[in-house]
Symmetry: C2
Subunit: 144 residues, 2 copies
């Protein structure tokens, strides 16, 4: 399961994508509309800013806004940033690889094989899910 932090991050990003290039949005605003604890949200947005996904403007009239293009941010990136590994075991992880004690030979591990497939399929779907696509899908859905 994703952490709540990650879920909040995604929802905040979707909110900011809906307001892309419309000036800064205040934390307070996002917090209220998306029901995310304000203080917690502050920390999350800061993290997204440090990753150069968001930028902020301080002072009155300030707030957060998306600097990357909505087509250039996807769920894989966000999940990796906030929650870390996507793979189900360290021995099939790309960014957090660690050898597995239980098997002498990784090549002949029958478990690894399936979990590699899961990882690949998951990465495929998540990297295809850009903020642009998510928001587009929501707008289309709402027409029905």
């Amino acid at each position: 399961m994703l952490s709540k932090k990650c879920k909040y991050a995604i929802h905040a990003l979707v909110y900011l994508t809906e307001r892309y290039e419309q000036g800064p949005v205040q934390i307070q605003d996002i917090s209220e509309k998306k029901h995310i604890p304000k203080k917690f949200l502050e920390a999350i947005l800061l993290e997204l800013r440090h990753a150069n996904i968001l930028e902020s403007k301080k002072g009155k009239g300030g707030g957060y806004y998306l600097v990357k293009k909505p087509t250039d941010v996807n769920l894989m990136q966000v999940m990796r940033l906030i929650d870390g590994p996507i793979a189900l075991l360290p021995c099939v992880s790309i960014n957090y690889y660690e050898r597995c004690d239980e098997c002498k030979n990784e090549k002949s591990c029958g478990i690894r094989d399936s979990l590699l497939s899961v990882r690949d399929e998951t990465l495929q779907i998540l990297s295809d899910a850009t903020l642009a696509k998510i928001v587009k899908r929501e707008r289309q859905m709402k027409l029905n």
Copy 2:
């Protein structure tokens, strides 16, 4: 990520599958061969027995053995049993469903859609990964 407990459970099951219908295998044996802390392994095997995947024999010459057929036990079952939900969010979970506060309308949630795909693909792969297939794959791999 899977818990270590779940990883241990899978490795123990594979070990018992390799010895299917060859009489009980002692905890000590599994523990040593698979490098799993014995006391921890005891708890895991007990859980698998309560789920009617394993059966045990007490007393001297006792141990654990697989009662379900190796074709009837798959990674989806084991992961659900030990770690719980497979889905990445409660709102896309089959067995642990919970409504998501952030979206007014679940149908029009653009995030949900991708995570449903991830869940479906994952379940597909994991339920196809039976103990029989895993062991078969290992045996074939070892020939090379």
